[in-house]
Symmetry: C2
């Protein structure tokens, strides 16, 4: 295992310490590293809280700040955060207008966020499940929540910043999730620090098609194909799943898994954009970069969100987080 | 070689097409992919032009926009751009106030930018050489220009945006470069698409200490050490080279080489910050991310710029590029 670390036991806390120190103008750390929170809260605003296993940075801690999340609870690498983390976050950032949890659809995450929601008052939840690759998976009943979660967090975060009430935010989050589809491809495995070896074996000329963000199996193992051929199949799966809805304005988000450089991501974006536009999608907003990662895995995912006018305006609204920033 | 590509001959142009399409609100592409330019020029402003071999994205194209570069000329992967690229860029973005070339110190880059400068009027140059690892290297006489180049581009770009004249911009650029030191460590090699195999061999438990951004040899090959031990030695090299100047306010920039995830970069930032602060450096500005990359190389570099008040204000000034954005 080749990583910059001191001890596998302290990777997470040391990284969080560095992260919050580097962004101390906007972020603060909860006791015992239970959560990362927005430094300046906005009284009367619904608090948005997300979280999940670590190893997907900048998701979610890098999306805490003005116009997005109020707090993020980092579990150990690829391990759900515990309910006491979410309870501590609620206590720290709920200013009285209630909380919305944004949860990726993994059994552990759903269970632990559910438990925290039951023990709190005034909490609603949005569960994301944008991954069209497979129904049910290693850690999931139903579809997995992957890179589309960022889109939900951005759009719902903007609405919360503008004063939208809790039930409407939950409805908006469900609507954005419902308009979003993703699928990913891995060229290499990731290596979890505590395991010390690759999560899965993969041949020199193979790819995992439809991979999950923890290295879960996708649709199949296949020979590595050209970028265009990969994009064709991923886009077809997304468009096929969206059906009639795959027409008109959309956000195209090409996401790197951590080990893939931006040159390749923009090349994939170029392929995917042409393919989507041939089928009637009009790409009016774009995001390209490594935002929902799987440690050091080489690979990428393609996410498409069909946009209506409200969603577009909210996507464009000012945001100031460690990883996403515009308009301020 | 495991990369998202269609053909090694078209990697660069396809990636540039995707890049400019994704950022068409601020960028435009020159004919024959000769340069990436700022869409909206500011008449009367000195034009900042940089460039170099591709494979270091987002440097330099991702740094074109308000408050930074006016144009960037991408050579083939790890290959200098040709003088006709810079001449075409000058023609496209010089609005009459002259041009400043910002050039990383590699023999090919220096030669080709020199040639273009001689064939133009009103061009001055800043050559960056922030890498303390080695004097003279595979492609360099003197020290290499590496991640510190981004700092020069940001600070000089802000001053140009505010109307500073060409000779003062050149002096400022030289001053920022003179206040900046970097050094990098590689855990794996990169793979140039046209070569199809790793640039160098490296053992499972080895690191290249002082590596260049094309995979050039550094100070030595060594056993992989802890993050703290690596940071200790890199920071000592930087502080030792700065000498008396290594006291007071500074920008700490931890840069990933393309294959290293942000969790590890923030962990390295955490180590480096503590070490620098023990020796009297006060970290008042931070940047952590993969900005000056070497394709898919795993590794990182540490850059320290000693800040005065003018430089700090210019660092904070609004910027709107694909890779760096704040204040607007």
């Amino acid at each position: 295992m080749k990583k910059f670390l001191n001890s596998v036991d302290t990777v997470l806390t040391e990284s969080l310490d560095g992260f919050v120190a580097a962004h101390s103008d906007i972020l603060a750390l909860g006791d015992e590293h239970k959560f990362v929170r927005r430094k300046a809260l906005k009284p009367g605003k619904v608090a948005l809280i997300s979280g999940g296993g670590s190893g997907h940075e900048p998701l979610h801690g890098g999306l805490v700040g003005h116009g997005m999340l109020d707090a993020a609870c980092p579990g150990q690498v690829f391990t759900s955060p515990t309910p006491d983390q979410m309870l501590a976050a609620v206590q720290a950032v709920d200013t009285g207008a209630g909380c919305l949890f944004i949860v990726k659809n993994y059994e552990g995450d759903v269970m632990n966020f559910d438990m925290a929601a039951e023990m709190s008052e005034g909490v609603l939840q949005v569960v994301t499940n944008d991954d069209v690759a497979v129904e049910n998976s290693s850690y999931t009943t139903g579809r997995r929540g992957v890179a589309g979660t960022l889109v939900v967090e951005k759009i719902v975060g903007a609405a919360a910043e503008q004063g939208m009430a809790l039930p409407e935010l939950k409805a908006l989050g469900d609507r954005v999730n419902g308009a979003t589809r993703s699928m990913g491809v891995a060229l290499t495995s990731c290596t979890v620090p505590a395991a010390g070896r690759p999560t899965f074996e993969i041949g020199d000329n193979e790819m995992e098609f439809g991979v999950g963000i923890h290295g879960e199996p996708g649709r199949r193992r296949d020979a590595l194909k050209s970028a265009d051929a990969i994009a064709e199949e991923v886009c077809a799966a997304i468009v096929g799943d969206l059906g009639e809805r795959a027409k008109g304005p959309a956000l195209l988000f090409v996401n790197g898994f951590g080990g893939t450089p931006s040159m390749e991501l923009y090349l994939m974006y170029n392929s995917a954009r042409k393919i989507f536009e041939r089928s009637g999608v009009r790409v009016i907003r774009s995001l390209v970069g490594s935002y929902v990662t799987s440690l050091d895995m080489a690979g990428c995912s393609i996410t498409l969100t069909m946009l209506d006018n409200e969603m577009t305006v909210l996507w464009d609204a000012p945001v100031h987080t460690a990883a996403l920033r515009w308009g301020m």
